[in-house]
């Protein structure tokens, strides 16, 4: 069984606040999920190199590194979605 402290630690790493009830529920859920993963220990050890066995193109193609002109409305739409803004800038809490 995964401990309460472990769940709280992972939740903090994941930037997720959990209630006490949630921590308790996640202890049970995570334990049974992680137990299920044990089956992978039985999988063959010898494995193909990643990507080598692939029958499909695994390389990704990148587009040219150039500015794509978008309408001003797109930028405005994007900034408008931020929950806290000032003078068309996104506002955040003080970092330092």
């Amino acid at each position: 069984m995964i401990s309460k402290e472990q769940v709280e630690h992972i939740a903090k790493l994941a930037r997720l606040e959990l209630t006490k009830a949630e921590v308790q529920k996640m202890q049970t859920d995570l334990s049974s999920i992680l137990d299920y993963f044990e089956v992978l220990k039985k999988a063959p050890q010898k494995v193909a190199d990643r990507g080598r066995a692939a029958g499909r193109p695994t390389s990704t193609s990148l587009r040219k590194d150039e500015v794509i002109k978008g309408p001003a409305s797109l930028a405005n739409n994007l900034v408008a979605l931020a929950p806290d803004t000032k003078d068309n800038y996104i506002k955040v809490k003080q970092v330092l």
């Binding site: 769940v7 992972i10 939740a11 903090k12 790493l13 994941a14 930037r15 997720l16 606040e17 959990l18 209630t19 949630e22 529920k25 996640m26 859920d29 995570l30 049974s32 999920i33 992680l34 299920y36 993963f37 089956v39 992978l40 039985k42 999988a43 063959p44 494995v47 193909a48 190199d49 990643r50 066995a53 692939a54 029958g55 499909r56 193109p57 990704t60 193609s61 990148l62 587009r63 797109l74 739409n77 994007l78 408008a80 979605l81 931020a82 929950p83 806290d84 996104i90 955040v92 809490k93 003080q94 970092v95």
Partner: protein, 477 residues
């Protein structure tokens, strides 16, 4: 003639002959949605104004006397994790409850360029995490064949909309079975394309190495029409690939069909097995060669999948930070926010539902120092084994026939308390995604009133072979 009965191609013919207009068809659908969707809950939002505007434009285009695209004027539904500019896109999550899409997904651009009519956005499990659509933060979609049962998930709204005649066709997304499972449960045709065949630009990400957008429709012909409209290379998605649409016809009598024994093992409902075996027999009677095959690493697929997906999801969902967009606690005085960390912790704590939280935790755990090798790295290695299974088997056969799911649609609430039992529903659909190959769900029969889907799995980028075979089989079943 009931307009709601018509397929895409039938509507197209009707438009050409001026038997009816797109506005008439669109209004018929909107009327039906207003009546029927109270019961089904397929839609999260009905985009009535957009639909009528598009229908009017389509009618104008069609009245010009020139040839027009086959999707022109045809009303469709879009899963709510795909962006339609100016419309809400919630991904079924409270964290995106008020999010209005700032641009169109590439698939939506493509549909719009054909003159498509968008009726609304359909319900899904939160961030497409689920197999029953019960994980939606907003509503539970009912299976139109039995409203006490789930429609499957995560594209449950998109499947139910087509099955309940609330859309001619729909778009869904498939990460582990999210198009095929609801297609099977709701008795519609659903195609999960090869990874890379369809652009993911503008689809809200769950697991980027697996997510694919695909069509759900009344029949195979319609499914093919929509697939051809949305596929292709997109500069905005580096993993998308230019696909050549082959016009060669594949005949069922020349076909080698593989039947993997691992997909008929313990746990399968005997009635489901009977329906799938019957479909295989029909293909055999038509002259196809049936070859028993093995995909030996199938037994590791679910564990592998449920490490890789949460790992990728935990990274993808890090973008919901309460700062750029989505739900934020920043201005909520009750939350007593004092610093930047509080904004993250509290916005995410309030915004995400139980399943995303569970997966973020599993993913963070699997990627964390000390556990990475045992979980994430191991899962990547096993994924290669599973991929290799498919590559080897497709040297011997053209397609694989399997069930989509071991059981038909289950009761609403039946599995909600046990997340692992939900995860196991991906047993026949998950391996396909780990390999990245295409697969389709074709209605193959019913248990009582509950539809059962046959899964046809093909080799990389052989969607057209799958669709050809499915179309011939559709007439026999």
């Amino acid at each position: 003639m009931d307009l709601l009965d018509l397929t895409i191609t039938q509507l197209h013919e009707g438009f050409k002959k001026k038997q009816f207009t797109s506005v008439q068809v669109t209004k018929a659908y909107l009327d039906h949605i207003h009546k029927k969707d109270k019961e089904i809950n397929a839609y999260l939002s009905v985009t009535e104004k957009l639909a009528l505007d598009q229908a009017e434009k389509a009618d104008k285009k069609m009245s010009e006397g020139k040839e027009f695209p086959v999707l022109c004027g045809v009303p469709c539904a879009i899963k709510d994790n795909i962006l339609v500019e100016g419309e809400r896109a919630t991904a079924g999550s409270n964290i995106l409850k008020d999010y209005v899409a700032p641009y169109d997904a590439t698939v939506i651009k493509k549909l719009k360029s054909q003159g498509a009519v968008i009726l609304g956005k359909t319900n899904l499990d939160e961030f497409a995490m689920g197999v029953s659509t019960e994980n939606s933060a907003f509503k539970i979609t009912k299976n139109p064949h039995d409203i006490t049962r789930v429609p499957g998930g995560s594209s449950g709204g998109s499947a139910a909309a087509v099955a309940a005649q609330e859309a001619v066709y729909s778009l869904g997304s498939d990460t582990g079975g999210s198009i095929r499972l609801p297609a099977s449960f709701c008795g519609v045709v659903g195609l999960n394309p090869t990874y890379g065949a369809v652009s993911r630009y503008g689809a809200i990400a769950l697991a980027s190495s697996l997510d694919q957008i695909g069509p759900m429709a009344k029949n195979v012909e319609d499914c093919k029409v929509v697939f051809e409209a949305i596929c292709g290379k997109d500069p905005m998605d580096a993993t998308s690939v230019a696909t050549e649409i082959q016009n060669a016809k594949f005949k069922i009598q020349n076909l080698r069909i593989g039947v993997p024994k691992e997909y008929f093992s313990e746990g399968i409902d005997p009635e489901v097995e009977k329906i799938i075996k019957n479909a295989i027999k029909k293909a055999k009677d038509a002259g196809a060669k049936i070859i028993p095959v093995s995909l030996p690493n199938t037994k590791y697929a679910i564990a592998c999948y449920y490490i890789i997906v949460p790992s990728e999801a935990s990274a993808n969902l890090a973008r919901y930070d309460g700062i750029k967009y989505g739900h934020s606690e920043i201005k909520n005085h009750k939350s007593q926010i004092t610093n930047l960390l509080d904004v993250y912790l509290k916005s995410r704590g309030v915004g995400f539902g139980p399943e995303p939280k569970r997966r973020i935790l599993v993913g963070t755990y699997a990627l964390s120092s000390g556990y990475y090798d045992a979980y994430y790295k191991k899962a990547l290695q096993v994924r290669e084994l599973i991929k290799k299974d498919f590559i080897e088997v497709f040297k011997k056969v053209d397609v694989l026939f399997t069930p989509v799911s071991p059981i038909p649609a289950f009761k609403i609430g039946q599995k909600t308390s046990d997340p692992l039992s939900m995860y196991l529903m991906d047993i026949y659909t998950g391996p396909v995604k780990l390999a990245g190959v295409p697969a389709l769900s074709l209605p193959a029969g019913k248990i009582g009133k509950l539809p059962v889907g046959l899964q046809i799995i093909g080799n990389y980028f052989e969607e057209n072979k799958i669709l050809d075979i499915a179309s011939q089989l559709e007439k026999m079943l």
